[in-house]
């Protein structure tokens, strides 16, 4: 494109660029049909509709307490949920909702010992199965680990953990919030629900130029070249900007236990008086790390491999970022098939089999 052409195209490109940014909230995310199975407070358990279920063991998707679980079902054609459904899985998702100030008392214990525990129970009731697969992403993965480590008798057959923080030593977050001068109690007292925008700002500040400038510069170049992928950009941009508040108690627990005291890897984590012993995690375990993950770097996840009691452990260490690995345009070809293949061999009924009268939706 010549310089003259560039100048001539700039006004139109500016309009399109602005339009893409201004209408990003109109993008549809998380649109796969689903039914509400159970709710409690702000938590909702969904079951995705499917007529292709052929694997007995249901999959429960657990996302982080920051951002929305819609990333599992980003957009038609690029949805992990859609992919799992097409591969014949019975897919459930636990959505933590939008906590508000009245949920300030919701700590990590409440999320693991109540919401997740009860959600699992409801998955089993709805599916008619005795076992399930937990698939956790980011903090969601840590919640799954905490559940497995604190509930010795649990119905989890398989556990898949995607870019999950375990050992926070030396991490950038640790440097920010793990220091003594960061008063997490004051934050939790001041805000009963930590604004999602504040969490998002911190996430973006880890790579400030990339997040605040390069993303938009690349979009501009795409628009100028007539190659802007609006359908791909807008859902992701909308998801990134959708930040539910973080309940104060959960925030305090998370920062204190994981970043200030690094309790999980030291075996000092306790939930309602019960020690979280990762040796109790004996399920088939899949650990997925992303080489360029700056939020949960691989070196912060790998220590898990020496802590769990599982004998069947698989690791996928792939290039990509914290979110891009699973939700990027290459995920459908590069990581989802491997995860599905891992799940397929571990999702058949065993001796206990399927309960009578499961409900299909």
């Amino acid at each position: 494109m010549s310089t003259v052409e560039r100048v001539a195209r700039a006004p139109r490109a500016a309009l399109e660029f602005a339009n893409i940014l201004l209408t990003q909230n109109d993008a549809e995310v998380g649109v796969s049909p689903k039914d509400v199975v159970w709710t409690h407070r702000k938590t909702t358990l969904y079951r995705y509709r499917s007529d292709r279920r052929r694997h007995a063991i249901p999959v429960l998707l657990v996302f982080a307490l920051i951002n929305r679980p819609d990333i599992f079902d980003l957009r038609p054609g690029n949805s992990f949920v859609e992919y799992l459904l097409n591969e014949g899985f019975d897919v459930f998702l636990i959505d933590w909702g939008y906590p508000e100030e009245e949920d300030a008392d919701m700590g990590i214990e409440e999320y693991v010992c109540d919401e997740l525990h009860w959600g699992i129970r409801e998955v089993l009731r709805a599916s008619g199965q005795d076992e399930l697969t937990l698939l956790g992403w980011c903090i969601g993965g840590t919640l799954c680990l905490l559940y497995g480590g604190s509930h010795p008798e649990n119905p989890v057959r398989n556990m898949a953990l995607l870019t999950t923080p375990v050992d926070t030593r030396g991490s950038l977050y640790g440097n920010w919030v793990g220091r003594d001068s960061f008063d997490v109690d004051q934050v939790a007292e001041g805000y009963k629900a930590i604004p999602g925008q504040a969490i998002d700002w911190a996430n973006k500040m880890m790579k400030p130029v990339t997040n605040y400038w390069t993303t938009y510069r690349r979009l501009w170049e795409g628009v100028m070249a007539g190659e802007a992928r609006r359908a791909a950009y807008q859902p992701m941009a909308r998801w990134v900007a959708d930040n539910p508040p973080f309940p104060a108690a959960a925030y305090r627990d998370w920062i204190t236990w994981m970043y200030k005291e690094n309790r999980l890897v030291q075996g000092r984590m306790r939930l309602r008086g019960n020690r979280v012993d990762l040796k109790r995690v004996r399920q088939s375990l899949l650990v997925v790390t992303a080489g360029a993950d700056h939020i949960a770097p691989p070196e912060g996840t790998r220590p898990l491999l020496g802590l769990v009691g599982s004998e069947d452990v698989t690791t996928f260490d792939r290039p990509g970022g914290h979110i891009g690995l699973m939700a990027g345009s290459k995920a459908r070809k590069e990581i989802w098939p491997d995860i599905v293949q891992w799940l397929e061999g571990r999702s058949q009924t065993t001796t206990r089999g399927k309960r009578n009268g499961s409900r299909d939706t």
Binding site: K34, W38, T39, E102, R121, K192, M205
Partner: protein
């Protein structure tokens, strides 16, 4: 042929710009990784939280003096609702547990079950969305 391999001036400028952007990005990432930035962030957070709390408390005080419900009052009500829901959930779970135990007793399945259909009470149970412990429906 040699000319074909030479990048155009525009491409050269673009490459230079991208290189400088990458260097800037790395420099900023190094900056935010420094202890001094962490310290700055901690103190700034503390100050912002303190100011927000002072502002919020003062505004709530004004509202209360006007005999209007402030944010704290509404939050208190909402918290009571949440606690009631917690208790209700526990009661429902206890009922379901007792129901299951009752269903396991021989000859009591059809009599004891509130859900018609299968002996264990699971077969034709209504979707949760239509029962009292769920809100909303399919989406």
């Amino acid at each position: 042929m040699a000319e074909d391999r030479l990048p155009s001036p525009t491409d050269q400028v673009k490459r230079l710009y991208e290189d400088s952007e990458q260097r800037t990005a790395r420099a900023f990432e190094a900056l935010v990784g420094r202890d001094s930035f962490g310290e700055l962030l901690a103190q700034t957070t503390e100050n912002v939280i303190a100011m927000v709390k002072i502002g919020s408390d003062a505004f709530d005080l004004v509202l209360r003096n006007l005999r209007l419900a402030g944010r704290q009052d509404i939050t208190r009500l909402a918290r009571q609702l949440a606690r009631n829901e917690d208790k209700l959930e526990l009661v429902l779970q206890e009922i379901e547990r007792l129901q299951e135990r009752l269903d396991e007793l021989p000859g009591t399945a059809s009599r004891g079950s509130t859900r018609s259909g299968s002996p264990n009470g699971r077969g034709d149970e209504q979707p949760r969305s239509s029962r009292s412990r769920s809100r909303g429906g399919g989406s």
